[in-house]
Amino acid sequence: MDIEGVPQEGNATLAGHRKLMYARDAEGRSVAVGSRGWEAEEIVTRHAIEVIDAQAAEARERVRAGAASPLEYWMYQRRMDVALLSQVTGFWQWRVRRHLQPRHFAALPPRHLARYAEALGLDVRQLRTLP
């Protein structure tokens, strides 16, 4: 890649930061150049974020409708899924899935709620509600 090839497309996902890349100057020497971002990167990052934002939005609706516990909303809001939430809390995945149901969530003892709250970086009161 030549210096002129270093993308300067101003990715929104970089929020004004620059990434360093190694490119070739006119004499063919490797030089370090700051990049304002590349469209290809922005597209896939936005795509991944949109997927998870959509999951959070759907979860919010389900919570409102009484079909899911607020835990499901917060899980997606924190960019996690069942597998990751299971890893960070130490609950088995099947238990996490149960706790996504309002009935089982309501029956959680305080120490289990505290485990979820800790893993999600929330306090227990927030975990029980939608923002």
Binding site: M1, L14, S30, E41, D81
Partner: protein, 334 residues
């Protein structure tokens, strides 16, 4: 740069393409070793490819374009005959106490952290990736002075946030991992060192293991080929490949460019002019990875038809080129 405590020597933050090679080269330079990021990456034989379908990130396979976390640091210790200390902790409190004590001694400390919990990262880049390296060079009040090499300037991070990032759980959980040099002898760079590091990297790229090196690329190509074009999951998968390549860390192309810079630097430093042509060739291969990423991104955006076999063919072409490249490189340093 922020003012540091008077006991600390002035630390020079230098922007890097990759977090781990950036931290280690900044740290070694601080200790008087004339180290650059490409040199650190190359001497540690950091270039790689791995396709690990059984490790899932958000339900999609782990694809890596470089060696696993900490491989660069550990890979550098041998060639430099340096000794580092690595420590992990059971509690955030213990981890913070130790960090504060080391900073009070005037040391630089490298840390493994989760990107998601570092507030200075742009929101769109905050994913649960647990192997991000940064360096702490001081503390002011409740803020740590952080040299995060993928940022242009030093950052600050509140103690509670840093503790959370250091003790995030899940895949590659850092457990408060910290590292700092114990002894750093001034080792002269020699032809033998460079040749040995290159041979080591050639071995890993051409390893007879189906999931790593060029064989890993071909295995991933076969998986890609088989994806049904109509399903939404396929688009997610393709987008994920590019994210693993370009967003998380430095990028598949980016690592090729770092290694190309290493070959050029080494060619000059230890008079191995035969490496210059290889540097040019690897740069061209890196451009091929960028073309692959761009095509994949256009598919995700809906500007091109979802065509997994076409992408798989591009990937195989990359594998063929890298295989030929590393075979020739091995002959050049034999």
């Amino acid at each position: 740069m922020n003012a540091t405590a008077p006991t600390l020597p002035r630390f020079e933050h230098r922007h890097a393409a990759h977090c781990e090679s950036g931290v280690i080269s900044n740290m070694l330079r601080h200790h008087g070793v004339p180290m650059t990021e490409p040199l650190a990456f190359g001497l540690a034989a950091g270039l790689s490819f791995a396709y690990l379908p059984f490790v899932k990130l958000s339900g999609l396979p782990l694809v890596s374009y470089r060696m696993p976390p900490r491989a660069i640091i550990k890979g550098l210790l041998g060639p430099l005959s340096a000794r580092f200390r690595f420590e992990t902790f059971r509690t955030p409190e213990a981890g913070q106490r130790r960090l504060d004590a080391l900073l009070a001694e005037g040391r630089l400390v490298g840390l493994q952290t989760s990107v998601y919990w570092l507030p200075y990262f742009p929101p769109d880049m905050r994913f649960h990736f647990n192997a991000h390296n940064l360096l702490v060079y001081g503390k002011e009040g409740d803020d740590y002075l952080v040299s995060d090499p993928v940022f242009e300037t030093p950052m600050r991070c509140a103690a509670a946030d840093l503790a959370r990032a250091r003790f995030a759980k899940g895949v590659l959980a850092p457990k408060g991992m910290m590292y700092y040099p114990e002894t750093v002898p001034r080792t002269e760079l020699t032809q033998a060192m460079v040749a040995k590091a290159i041979r080591r990297n050639v071995r890993s790229m051409l390893a007879p293991i189906p999931l790593v090196g060029v064989r890993g690329m071909r295995r991933l190509a076969a998986r890609l080929q088989a994806l049904p074009p109509q399903e939404a999951h396929t688009v997610d998968y393709i987008g994920h490949l590019v994210r693993m390549q370009e967003e998380i860390g430095t990028g598949g192309a980016g690592f090729r460019f770092i290694y190309a810079a290493f070959l050029q630097e080494a060619a000059d430093a230890v008079a191995m002019p035969q490496l210059v042509a290889f540097s040019d060739r690897l740069t061209a291969i890196g451009d091929g990875w960028r073309a692959f990423a761009l095509k994949a991104a256009r598919i995700v955006k809906g500007r091109e038809a979802v065509d997994p076999p076409r992408l798989a063919a591009l990937l195989r072409a990359q594998a063929d080129q890298e295989e030929a490249f590393f075979r020739d490189l091995r002959r050049a340093v034999a």
